[in-house]
Amino acid sequence: MLPTFVIGLREGLEASLIVGIIATFLGQQGRRDALRWMWAGVVGAVVLCSAVAIVLRITEENLPQRQQEGLETVVGLAAVAMVTWMIVWMRRHARGLKHDLEGKAAAALAGGSVGTLVVMAFLAVLREGFETAVFLLAAFQGSRDPGAAGTGATLGVLVAIVIGIAIYRGGLRINLEKFFRFTGFVLVLVAAGLVATAAHTAHEAGWLNFGQHEVLNLTGFVGPGSVRSALLTGMLGVQVRPVTVEVLTYLVYLIPMAVFVLWPSRRRPVDRTGGSRIETTRVPTRDSVPTRTAVTVSAMAAVIAVAGCGSSASSKRGGAGVKTVAIELIKAGCSPAKITVPAGPTKFEVTNKNADAITEMEILDQDRIVAEVKNVAVGLSGSFSVTLKPGKFTLSCPGGTTDDGKGTLTVTGTAVALTGPSAAERAAAVGRYRDYLVAQSKLLVAKTTVFTSAVEAGNLVAARAAYAPARVPYERIEPVAASFGSLDSAIDARSNDVPVAQWTGFHKIEQAMYATGNFAGMAPVAKKLLSDVKLLDVLVRRVVLEPATIANGAVELLNEVGTSKITGEEERYSHIDLVDLAGNVEGSQAAFDSVAALLPADSPVTKAQIDARFAAIATALTPYRSGDGYTLYTDLAAAQTRAISLTIDAAAEPLSKVAEQIVA
């Protein structure tokens, strides 16, 4: 009964988690109408699985003894293969499961198809259900009491559904990683038993005729009908008088799998970057060499991360109520691992004492990163500030030896009240920018579609013509895109930003169009680019924004100009850097325009001043307009880029003082 219970619980929980995530996602996207269809998919999958199980069972019963043993062997081995794959997959993805699915779900919605989501739910349940069916069938074969086994399985599935609903409603938090590790171990034992049983039935089917010497006789230890016997044979599938091949296959399966499941997890790099995992990062650490992505991510994403946690993007040192919390990274993880602080602006100062396996600290809300500091290697320190809302959060120092470096952060008290412009004014400012963001994102999808279609069609002339128009909307909203970590890199990395094998996106195609001549091979890159851009289009609608975030994004865009556009590095093959530059500037101005109304009357930086500085940039760019676009970067002399650069700096300086004035 226990093995079937575990199987039902585990498979059921996986399925209900996936269904729960899809349901949540549909709810967030305002597509509650599609829930019905999702449930239809779930029911369909359950029915189909049950049918398969019944057919298998009936088939088996109607076979002669020898063929029956053969089918049992096949079903048993299929079950072993499935459970093994499942254990490995869950072990790798337990912590990223939700992100992975949300990414897929977002991509599905971006494709405009709720049907895809329903199919996703159907397939997820079908997969789990099919696994359950085969696995249960194998377990039934090994069980003396089919009634108890059936009860166990049913109970397991029911408990799983209850847990799934509880998680969905947000009332229950379990450590999924621990849960899957424990149940994984039990399943390894069961599966090892199935391997041995399969060796046994294979012999009886006449397929396996060597190694049939009895190596152990456990009858003295487990008398027939004893509790021990029931445990060993019924639950774990161990034969009472095993032969050599049974013992060998049992051990060969059990030992490596048990080690794999129980070995303390240390995050593999692939976990950090793989899939469509959404990461927000903050990089205030000294000594870290800021890659382009890190830099672009830092300013805007930091505020996004923080904003996700509380109401205010930043805190004022020396102002009222700013707490400083010192965290040390030690080998075990975060120290202290349990922290209680009152709500409000809080600065975390993180120092790495001696933890060579840890380089970062995160605050997680469930499994969402709300704030973090990275690249804190041994001997370094870094910090980040968040405005904490009351609640329970997870401290995480990934790589720590105790509980994978996990701890708890309890925030007490009540949320800090806002001052300054009214909430409505602030919301209106954010709304203005959100409208812009969404419009540009839509434009990006449209223009990228034109571009990637040309690339896929192998039409070089059309692709070149469509390239610049697709770049512009991206450059306008780049810092927001950059807040989704690896997505920015996937869309916009230059050749030296990422390892060659991982290089994708606009610039890879740019190189093929203008430099290497490998244009013919770009169709898959184009396909991925379009899907990444569509994913971005979904994500930007959900990004948490606030006025200071937007103001800092405006600065970030001008900094982008200064670091990569005015130097001709961004479009090193097509040389359309001025097109990107103009996009950055337009995006910056739009961001500033959205929040300018929040500047207080006594602000030392004024809208008139910054508007004039933006106008000066436009004037400086005017001589280089050429048709719809701009002169190639390579046609500009140093004195000309210098003149443009001076106007960019001139706008960026006062702009950098805006966030301070409008932060809540």
Partner: protein, 421 residues
């Protein structure tokens, strides 16, 4: 629980700015590019350093950095004005004045404790002494075009320097609308000042060129030992001393009856980047080196004399009738006595800017800075003679040129260039 103690000070929600309409008088900003002019007053100065190390007052009848005993380090910056608005320019000069007064006193500018904002001060000079920091401003000839309505105010003495023999001028490191000579005994202090002036000026001025000087080559005070230049010779033994009041009045400061009136109490500055052909010089035999300069290398004494400060014996001749100090020796051609009494207050610095990619030689030499009352009567005739005849020409090359009208000092309540703008 590792929470730190809650701050006891009340929240400072906004920077406390004192608007630009302070003591300096109303500024017609209007629709100009600059918003509110920001003046850092001492009431902001909670971050004043505690240092009591020597500080040179930024305010005074003459600008500091001319008569001031030469500091050890230089950073010279030349700006072009990028804004077309005179109001912007005036607002900037006021901001600069306020910032300079802070820097000279060893204080930071603005607010630097607001976490949501970039600090006003870039911070690298915090904890450093004032280091006798001076910032000396001048206006180049290009300021007097029609952009700011100053074309009628250009001093006749602020000539466009002529091309001299052997000049090899790079326009990219020459000229400029505004020149700032930043001197201090600590190079970081000097850098900090110019960097922050540049930052404050974004949108109104842009840096055109800079020159770092790592060691002074002149003394402008009787109390200072005469330093040596990169040729290994004592340079500027007979320089104008800042405390020689009579000579300063007659040779350096624009006099009370000189025109234009706005320059009275000011001076004119000529800046020339003079690269030394160091490798060739180092291969020249000592006797020739001494003949080229006209001094004994070890003691600094004029040829034919024993001590550095002995009178230069321009008339002395050997038994064969040849002059002890050769006719083309540098000190003869540059001596006031051979130039109708014309002096220059020299304030030059040794520089090195890496390696010439063409010759693999050191790019090093003397960044020549000289203050004078009238370049037409002082620098131009002297340099004409030197360029035509100086034996030193074999070993040097002038690579940049700039001239600035240095207005009088800033009185409390006034601002840089207030007599002009």
């Amino acid at each position: 629980m590792v929470e730190s103690e809650p701050p006891t000070k009340p929240a400072i929600s906004r920077r406390r700015f004192v608007g630009g309409l302070g003591a300096a008088g109303a500024v017609g900003v209007g629709a100009a590019l600059v918003g509110k002019s920001v003046i850092w007053t001492d009431s902001d100065g909670s971050d004043a350093t505690t240092s009591t190390a020597p500080a040179v007052d930024f305010y005074g009848a003459h600008q500091a950095g001319i008569a001031t005993p030469a500091q050890d380090r230089l950073l010279f910056g030349a700006f072009d004005v990028t804004s077309a608005s005179r109001a912007d320019l005036v607002a900037l000069l006021k901001q600069w004045t306020s910032a300079c007064a802070h820097f000279a006193g060893g204080r930071q500018i603005g607010r630097n404790d607001v976490e949501a904002a970039p600090p006003d001060d870039t911070g690298e000079a915090l904890d450093l002494a004032p280091a006798r920091l001076t910032m000396t401003f001048g206006f180049g000839p290009t300021m007097f075009d029609d952009r700011f309505g100053l074309s009628g105010k250009r001093p006749a003495a602020l000539i466009d320097l002529p091309a001299f023999d052997h000049d090899n001028i790079d326009p990219a490191i020459s000229g400029g609308d505004i020149g700032v000579q930043v001197c201090a005994d600590d190079p970081t202090v000097a850098f900090h000042a110019l960097r922050n002036l540049t930052r404050i000026g974004k949108g109104v001025v842009g840096l055109r060129w800079t020159q770092l000087g790592f060691g002074r080559t002149s003394s402008t005070s009787a109390s200072q030992e005469t330093p040596r230049n990169l040729m290994g010779f004592k340079d500027g033994t007979n320089n104008v001393a800042g405390d020689n009041r009579a000579l300063m009045e007659s040779q350096v400061w624009v006099g009370p009856s000189d025109q234009p009136a706005w320059m009275r109490g000011g001076s004119y500055l000529v800046a020339r980047r003079i690269r030394m052909r160091i490798e060739q010089w180092d291969r020249d035999f000592l006797g020739d080196q001494e003949n080229v300069i006209g001094r004994i290398k070890s003691t600094g004494a004029p040829l034919g004399r024993l001590h550095e400060r002995d009178l230069v014996p321009l008339e002395a001749a050997h038994a064969d009738g040849s002059l002890v100090i050769p006719p083309d020796a540098h000190i003869r051609l540059a001596a006031p006595a051979t130039n109708g009494g014309a002096h220059l207050l020299r304030r030059g610095y040794s520089f090195t800017d890496g390696v010439s990619p063409v010759t693999a030689g050191l790019d090093a030499g003397l960044f020549f800075l000289a203050y004078m009352r009238d370049p037409r009567k002082q620098f131009v005739p002297i340099q004409n003679r030197l360029a035509a005849n100086d034996a030193l020409n074999e070993y040097i090359e002038h690579g940049s040129t700039a001239i600035f009208a240095v207005p009088p000092g800033v009185e409390h309540g006034g601002y840089i260039g207030g007599t002009l703008l």
